[in-house]
Assembly symmetry: C2
Homo-oligomer: 125 residues x 2
């Protein structure tokens, strides 16, 4: 399976709550960083469980996958029934068909107020 | 110039406050989206000016550039003397040596509190 396909499959299986299937795409010693919250998740099992136990109501929409050698970046939209609309830009390393590292930048759409000084240069979406 | 090099140069020139040089790498009808704040910047001139007028104290450290055809993703760290440490994951389109679109996910390192339910699965960085 191509590296980009490994990442797409991971998101598809996450949407399906196919947790064994997600785990099958992860290296046992996977390390994922969430810089915004200062959290590091070490090991396949912890990454599967943290996603499986994330409060329900979410879905996964893959917007884009960008692959360059062992590095794959995904842009994913995550609507949530009660927690707003998030997007996550994730930088993955894929080796031999398994995800070995990740660094995920989680953001909430529309959560940051646009400062007044920028108003001459922008349109509001 | 390769697409990845166009993006690296854009960041280098931004660090140098070489605003004419930044503009020379942008299509005149460039469109950049900042989803977190719901802002869209239309046109080379607006994008140059919004960056030039951003309150000073910042620097640019390019962590990674990932290129796949016309799409280039950059991961950039932006320390600021007074506004904390930010990272931005930016998805660019580069055509004929010019950046034509961008979508930038700005995040602040350590800004989101790590919820208690996740503590069994994570290490704090």
């Amino acid at each position: 399976m191509e590296s980009s396909q490994v990442v797409r499959q991971m998101w598809d299986r996450m949407q399906d709550r196919d947790w064994a299937g997600v785990g099958a795409l992860l290296a046992e010693d996977l390390v994922v960083e969430w810089p915004a919250s200062g959290e590091r998740i070490v090991g396949r099992e912890n990454f599967v469980r943290i996603n499986a136990e994330y409060p329900e109501g979410w879905s996964i929409i893959v917007l884009r996958v960008v692959a360059d050698g062992v590095t794959v970046v995904s842009e994913v939209e995550v609507p949530h029934a009660s927690a707003g609309l998030h997007r996550v830009a994730s930088f993955w390393t894929v080796r031999d068909g398994l995800i070995t590292t990740g660094r995920e930048y989680w953001t909430e759409v529309g959560s940051d107020p646009a400062p007044a000084w920028r108003s001459p240069y922008v349109e509001l979406m």
